[in-house]
Symmetry: C2
Subunit: 504 residues, 2 copies
């Protein structure tokens, strides 16, 4: 590299590091808001988060960044190279960021920070109207953002692109239609099979014992507590401020043994992805998950393909029984495993079984499309939610807190985010089936509590790339193909046929 | 105000708010580093904190800030006015900040962030040499900083001015000499009085019960947990990211009932000062304590004048006895009070009694002067510390962890900070004696657990000003005079004569 190029690169890198550091700081302020912040600090925190995003945005979109990118463009062709990848990814982010004025970015940060607080209050009080005003402002800003970014077919595409680069709402619709036609007969067949009752799942399970069990499992599967931690919050999430500082949160309910544990496994999947990124990429735009679909594939892989597998419980069930002798002493492993995998439509997405989960996503996707198209107002959401829950899942949430208020995403301004959950489900099966081929005795390893081979395989093939490879490139690299529902459907058919009898 | 002035002021205010928000974010990152951050994140955190301080510094020292300040200078004369005060204080900070290059500021943030981590490790491992290299770098940077800022007589003055504006090392020396000559005969007289043994202070006191007791007292005295919280850390400190987000930390030792409680009261005094600042000043340079001396006067007032008073224990002792029946059941209140106020030279500053405390400060001040004058090297510090502890206090610390490593201040780059502790002690007595005059039955109020009148008096007369009034102005406003050792000496003589017999 010539010395001019070198100094250009150094200058660009300094801008990138500053932007990343300011965003990481904003991330910590947001994490703190959900975990430890005193309630009286909400207003100041909103202002501070807005300032951090606005400042990082202003520093990023300066003309100088564009000049440097132009001068550094297309030097090398190897997509594995640090510099080439960094310039390419930065160029993408820069083009997108330049379309958003500092005022709009600041406004979004401020409004969503307030919306987060009013959402939390509305959730606690089961009072949607306390959140409605802020949500209206969020939706308005999302529309404004979509117009600023621009789109070919639908404003949704401009928003979706932030989370799942190069995807469109038309593709999502297509995949959802595809999936729905295969899923409906499966769900029907299961509905016709004899249903078991698992009352023991809702006995009282001491929160502290649940917490300790979850922490030990996180340690076992390989979440690195030297470079991360877990706390409690109203809604589980994961975030990172460095590949060496990854934070998980979970929530624990005494009346639900499943809720906390699978929440932890899910967030740990996200967290281990971040922890597994190549240290060389630290502090740059490359040190992130490459798309939310890939990200979610890892949370779902650890939560479902690992955590809800028979092999996993062959390893852990005796330990769990010891901790909860009164509740589980008489429950054989087989029955516990079936309870963990019971398919029954329910109101809460994060507690939904694997089979019906994607129906929760379809509902949200459709409501988001209606909001953006102004076919529905925010105030109509609770009613529409209830109607569709009945239509899709045949359940009626007990309250708005159990319904339209259950997710934090809209408060965060994350319209366009939900479809990545279903994309993630599909990819998780594609990646896990590759891992099964590569590690021939993966099931046995899991049943012995040996998670290192799987984690290392995932680190090598998925995690360490960061954003050097796109989602499509990773899937192509592993499967010689694209995102497909088939491996996921095959996984579902095989697993649930064993529980519910042959499925279509 | 004309519309030009108004828009100038708006623009200046926006700069100030951005700078304050970035600093608040840095503060949270530092708080997190001491409380919850995983150890592996140290390097990233150093970089992030450095970026935040460097970015805020760069935004602040732009020429535009200077232009706006010049145009807004001297409009109004009333020192109580928001605008006049803000312009005056900002001008002071701006002049000082412009003397420090962004490189130096970034370097200081980075080195001190690393030094904090190596100090914590050195402290845990009782291994000074693990910290020595970083401390050398810190001292070098402090010297560099003093040269950049400039001084008339001594580099120490340039550093001291950051913490105690408009004070000099010569004044400090003068006050210390003054104080020493009055203190020595008092300490001697106490040494000659019969010494009591209070073994019960070091029985085992359950950490959780200690924590709960401390939390209840913080609530009682008026620390607002809606706008603040308390956590654990290796060294107690307080910090704030807004007047509505004030964080205290404490450390609890099972073998020392005193350590955690008085640490909490001390930090709560700092915290209530911050919480009591006029909300109108929020998010600006005015929403801070006006000097560290005034700040420390409030931590010491709540820790000592309130927390170590007979009246306070008339209120709380029965409750404490109930919680620790085995340890305190047979100890009468009078004896407990005397134990809380036992004068006995010891190794640890934060656990020192009121009478000998200032000797710890004198030692540190002298070592700092020697470091800056290059009359001592960092590697000589452990030896010099041991020698002087013997000389001043007649005690020999058991280890460097109990000696030269006990304070975090040098790791933070806070050379010039320690003298403000003694200044604070003196001011605390000046202010408390004013409060006693204003609230004639203050003692009775405290013994009934009524802290509201005192807190409100302090809010009105000290806290709510923020930086609108300087330390000298507040003391003049209350006493028609300046900082003086007399009220403190009178307080000490009166209180300890009652315990140890007539003192000189």
């Amino acid at each position: 590299m010539s010395s001019t190029r070198e100094s250009d690169f150094e200058e660009l890198l300094k801008i990138i590091r500053t932007v990343c550091d300011l965003r990481a700081a904003a991330g910590l302020l947001e994490w703190d808001q959900e975990t430890y912040m005193p309630t009286g600090a909400t207003e100041a925190r909103s202002r501070q988060v807005a300032t951090l995003y606005a400042t990082s945005h202003e520093l990023f979109i300066r003309d100088r960044t564009g000049e440097l990118l132009e001068r550094l463009n297309g030097i090398e062709d190897d997509p594995m190279e640090f510099l080439t990848s960094l310039v390419r990814v930065t160029q993408r982010d820069y083009s997108r960021a330049c379309k958003l004025s500092p005022e709009l970015v600041g406004k979004i940060a401020e409004v969503t920070s307030k919306a987060k607080a009013s959402w939390a209050q509305a959730y606690r009080e089961n009072n949607f109207e306390r959140f409605a005003g802020d949500l209206e402002r969020v939706v308005g800003l999302c529309r404004e953002k979509a117009e600023a970014i621009g789109y070919a077919d639908h404003p949704y595409d401009a928003l979706l692109d932030e989370y799942e680069p190069e995807s469109t709402s038309a593709q999502i619709k297509y995949i959802f239609d595809d999936l729905r036609s295969a899923l409906v007969p499966i769900v029907q067949a299961i509905a016709e099979a004899p249903q078991m009752e698992y009352a023991f799942l809702h006995y009282s399970y001491d929160a502290e014992i649940q917490w300790d069990f979850g922490m030990e499992i996180l340690r076992d599967i390989g979440f690195d507590f030297q470079r991360g931690r877990q706390d409690l919050s109203a809604h589980p999430f994961s975030t990172s401020f460095s590949i060496n500082d990854v934070r998980l949160t979970t929530r624990i309910r005494e009346r639900s043994l499943v809720s906390g544990l699978f929440g932890s496994l899910h967030e740990a999947g996200h967290g281990m992805y971040e922890q597994g990124i190549d240290p060389e990429l630290e502090g740059t735009f490359l040190a992130q998950g490459t798309s939310l679909g890939i990200h979610e594939s890892q949370s779902r892989l650890w939560e479902n393909q690992v955590g809800r597998s028979e092999a996993f419980w062959r390893c852990y069930y005796r330990d769990l029984q010891q901790r909860f002798k009164d509740q589980l002493g008489n429950i054989p492993m087989e029955r516990f495993y079936q309870a963990m995998n019971q398919v029954r439509p329910s109101a809460i997405r994060v507690e939904a079984d694997e089979v019906t989960y994607n129906l929760h996503i379809m509902l949200r996707f459709e409501l988001e499309m209606m909001l953006l198209e102004e076919k529905a107002s925010v105030h109509e959401l609770p009613g529409l939610w209830m109607d569709r829950m009945q239509g899709y899942l045949g359940v009626q949430p007990e309250s708005d807190a159990q319904g339209v208020l259950q997710d934090i995403h809209w408060a965060l301004g994350a319209i366009g985010y939900f479809p990545t959950y279903t994309i993630g489900n599909l990819i998780s099966a594609q990646i896990f089936s590759c891992a099964q081929s590569a590690l021939t005795d993966l099931d046995d390893q899991i049943s012995r509590g040996e998670f290192k081979p799987l984690l290392e395989w995932l680190q090598t093939n998925v995690y360490h790339w960061g954003r050097k490879l796109s989602a499509a490139e990773i899937i192509d690299w592993l499967t010689n193909g694209a995102v497909s529902a088939e491996p996921w459907l095959a996984y579902i058919r095989q697993k649930y046929s064993a529980i519910y009898g042959n499925l279509p």
